[in-house]
Symmetry: C2
Subunit: 413 residues, 2 copies
Amino acid sequence: MKAEIITIGDELLIGQTVDTNSAWMGAELSRLGFDICRKISVHDNKTDILDTLWNVTGKSDVVLITGGLGPTSDDITKQTLCEFFNTHLVVNHEVLRMIEVMMKQRNFPMNENNRRQAEVPELCKVLRNKRGTAPGMWFEKGGTIFVSMPGIPYEMEYIMKEHVLPELGRRFTSQSIIHRNIMTYGAPEARLAEILTGFEEELPVEIKLAYLPGYGIIKLRLTATGPDKLKLNSLVDEQVKKLYGIIPDLIFGEDEDPLEKVIGRLLKDRNQSVCTAESCTGGRIAQMLTSIPGSSDYYKGSVIAYDNKVKTEVLKVNTSDIEKYGAVSGQVAEEMARGARQLMKTDYSVAATGIAGPDGGTKEKPVGTLWIAVASENGTKSEKHLFGYDRISNINRFSVAALNLLWKQILYR
Amino acid sequence: MKAEIITIGDELLIGQTVDTNSAWMGAELSRLGFDICRKISVHDNKTDILDTLWNVTGKSDVVLITGGLGPTSDDITKQTLCEFFNTHLVVNHEVLRMIEVMMKQRNFPMNENNRRQAEVPELCKVLRNKRGTAPGMWFEKGGTIFVSMPGIPYEMEYIMKEHVLPELGRRFTSQSIIHRNIMTYGAPEARLAEILTGFEEELPVEIKLAYLPGYGIIKLRLTATGPDKLKLNSLVDEQVKKLYGIIPDLIFGEDEDPLEKVIGRLLKDRNQSVCTAESCTGGRIAQMLTSIPGSSDYYKGSVIAYDNKVKTEVLKVNTSDIEKYGAVSGQVAEEMARGARQLMKTDYSVAATGIAGPDGGTKEKPVGTLWIAVASENGTKSEKHLFGYDRISNINRFSVAALNLLWKQILYR
């Protein structure tokens, strides 16, 4: 059961757009048990798209294609698919009606470009797209299923969830593949690999272990392959249990749940609340916490105190402490956390102050220096960290470190 | 002058990691004049990696490879390259010393996995990596240059900037490719394409136009190809001038500068400052503004008022107005903006309140409803918008809309 993914568009090759679609589709196909052998991005060039389509025909069971379905003249996927499947474009009246309704709702006038969106290859099965104007298209040729979808992520995801994944699930039963993710924080990759050497050597043959690092978090992915899904599940359960025994302090969650989701669940269960006080992270911690649907149940708000005056006037940090210890210090981090907690009246507050770079570093406090603090009724706890050189990477690492301290304080360990 | 990009790692195919490296490398190669024909992702499987390497040999001038160089056992790129280039691993003592220094600085003990990072194929030219433990490796075979780099983005970027791009620039002189990006906001893609039909038809043969939409912003990309870089530049200049004549109100910047950078430049030039007051966007606006290095010169801070109590107590929004008009209303957006401006003492403030979803929508105020406001010494201006269904997409679109209103108010138009 093999699958390939083709993404189309000059913008993907010259780096104007990061291809997030193929990651999403890969995850979903993999969950259905497909083995994704390759992902190919091609530019908006008819010959090269046709070449790629011929190249995958008959090799894989399913080929998912995104991109090049927009209303403008640089989008040529639809015409190219007509040539490949030896068919021609016809107006689909159901799609046309949907587009008319959608444009009306948004108060945009219909034009020729919108109308062209309703043209589809005569041979394909049309997959309705409630999120946009370009429908999905399902073809079969030479034993391979081809599905073409728009490149806009939430439109592609809608068509996948609504039409493609259910149909693929019905058609294919298979060798099962199970992925289980154990989320860790606190040990770098090489150190973790050292701790887990014995564990890895003793893994049953059905199971593979991978290390996936990102901003201080290392995802341990166990992948089990075999015919019997139940057996695989119990094999993986056993190994996960073993992991908890070896690295209990490093594991904060499972199944790709990020720290912000784990924290949200804890706070919701306990009917507790949190707020944030950020300097160097500029809202990233708040943004991570509020990316979780329903976070308004426990997240109250934040003061982003980029300027020292906001630290002293809004968060009531002592001016003399900023002068004595500097804005990037344990004292100031703790005062920020306490100030925010008092202002927003929450159970917990988390604060971060540091130097994200590229400028602002000194010999004593180089770029990458971070102080974080968490305040609660149990008092205030602060930590110092030293990360790297890159601004965006630092903002992310800083935020993850702050959430990790918050998580540990909520668990009080 | 052709190039291909190969990214290696199971995590890329099953969607655990989004491949941002190939976008970055594609942009850089394209700037040097390379035509990037394909990007291929393969899983951590020796046979498939070897297949892919054989497949590209002799077809392209340059093949950039990332991933699979980590210290753990699932990383097999180095061994596979040895097989492909018919060589073997040897310890590189310079790399070993660098790793020892790096581990010492970060206070981590050296282990066998770290030491293995210093092993490189004997045949390759080693490219120093100051950002991590895995060095880059430069090979040549069958007329094709192969460069293997670690998959961690800032390590790859360091090796590219320090070693690979300068060397490629020296070796290849070529057909030039010029990209120019004109950033627009305010018209959806189909409408913009309609306005620009005539412009597109009259483009000189050397120039192609592409529409790249993202969260309400549409990048117009002009790509010119030809032997004479100076001529291409003046051709593109002419077309850009024409665009400013056709859609003056929609263009906010050039060269992929996001709104937050354009705003930052304006504020810095005028020695003015800004703060934010966010509800539904949960810190995203602040995060966009502070992603720009040096933003502390003009960005003072933010109050994220997720909870209505934070709106009334910290931002001094009238409780009665929240009751009368609802938290998502023009009145509340304006009061949030004025409250933040007063609290943080800035020239401008921007506020957003809306319903990001998936829950919280009503018939009158469905998910996707947004009110934004900007306050300044010229008074307060607010706007209503209606976007879509997806939470993360909404948070992004909301934030871009807010920044656009801020930008227009700074220009006072």
